[in-house]
């Protein structure tokens, strides 16, 4: 069993967490085309190696950014979204 660090609650069991979305995908500005809007909604990078992802810690209800390695599963950082 792996533990993930919640920035608010500290290290907790991985089953308490839910992967939400990849981080750093800004909302398109002005009037995006259908293609740009679909990319914003659906396209992901699914990087092999270091990744920045937004996770939910279910018990405290806070979303936060977790930096992890998608090959090794090592967690390198965890920071509040705001």
């Amino acid at each position: 069993m792996q533990t993930f660090p919640c920035p608010f609650c500290g290290p907790r069991d991985e089953t308490e967490f839910h992967f939400a979305v990849e981080a750093d995908h800004p909302r398109p500005e002005n009037a995006p085309s259908d293609l740009e809007w679909a990319a914003y909604l659906y396209a992901v990078d699914a990087p092999q190696g270091p990744a920045r992802e937004i996770w939910l810690h279910i018990p405290c209800g806070e979303y936060f950014v977790m930096s992890r390695n998608t090959r090794t599963r090592d967690v390198t950082a965890s920071e509040a979204l705001r």
Binding site: M1, Q2, E14, T15, H18, F19, D34, L35, A38, A39, L41, Y42, A43, V44, D45, A46, P47, Q48, G49, A51, E53, T70, R71, T72, R73
Partner: protein
Amino acid sequence: MKYSAFTLAREALRGQSGWQPAWVKAKPRDAYDAVIVGGGGHGLATAYYLAKTHGLTRVAVLEKGWIGGGNTGRNTTVIRSNYFYPESVALYDLALRLYEGLSRELNYNIMLSQRGMLIAAHTPAQMEICNRIANAMQLNGVDGRLMEADEAADKVPLANQGARVRYKLMGGIWQGRAGVARHDAVAWGYARAASALGVDIIEGCEVSDIRIEAGRVSGIETNLGPIRTDRLGLAAAGATPGLAAKVGVRLPIHTYALQAFVSEPVKPILDTVLLYLGTGTYLSQSDKGELVIGGGLDRVPTHGQHGNLPAQEQVLSGLLEMFPSFGQLKLLRQWGGVVDVVPDSSPILGPAGPKGLYLNCGWGTGGFKAIPAGGTLLAHMLATGAHHPISKPFDLDRFRTGRLIDEAAGSGIAH
């Protein structure tokens, strides 16, 4: 060399000295008419149908590891076509029909065993869903039907049916043509047949870049040197997003680990494929007597081919809910594969990015059952440059138009 009862007998008499390697381990040439990245079932099937159906034999299949070593060799070997939407049934039933004739077509025994599959329901709501899917299957011309509790209990006599059971078996969906096949044999059979038609199968060959000239694919860079081609098919499951990113194509694909388990061999106790809707755990018994067990995804995105403990606990507790008598059963093996999961739980088939590039990916947890269809359709696109009617609804463009084929909602796929 054709495999037959005669060649078996002849080799038995002369000390097994005449067998040839089933396929040629090729070195890459400078140029091909088409190159397929990914030497799993889908990639090898694509090469076979390119050569067989379309007469294209200057074809290479590139595999970074060994053929069939990815998800083709890591799945639970279930074949079925019990989906909800007409587009999906057309796709998966094409695969099932091709599977039914595949041993003969490839002259290679894929050990297809159409032992039937029961999707079991334990609540009135699950039973309603089963009814709906069974109706959809019949409307789509597939052999599914609703099965009542008594008949379902007869199919799986060892299932938990005691007086104290919390959830009683209420029935489910039965598809008699569903079953299992030997997964390695599917990869090896397609490899052997493709190789015999002149296709180069190149193992240990990893693609590092894709070259484009004037908006069209012109070749690839690999660890074994550059290869020229103007038609490139990607059939690399969880590695596909990384390859597509090299030409600026971003895909709606998350990669997760999916685990499977094999128990010690036991005497024959289960002669169908059984899935519980409530837990998502499913199993079948192999010819060797091992129970082959699968379930839902790990919930942590990953590219590592190994699973995590919470998912194991969920699958195995589901197994014990089905069969409390398995509490003493020992597991022999457990492993994980990286699956490419799309938001609507349907595959992506079609062109993407530069001209000449085609995708066959996004099969998620269900790629093995679709191998003959995925190969047929990717070969069609590579050979003709156009969609097949069955692949067209699965184009990447559905995420722009919104015409998603949501099998997660339609047939209750557990992701």
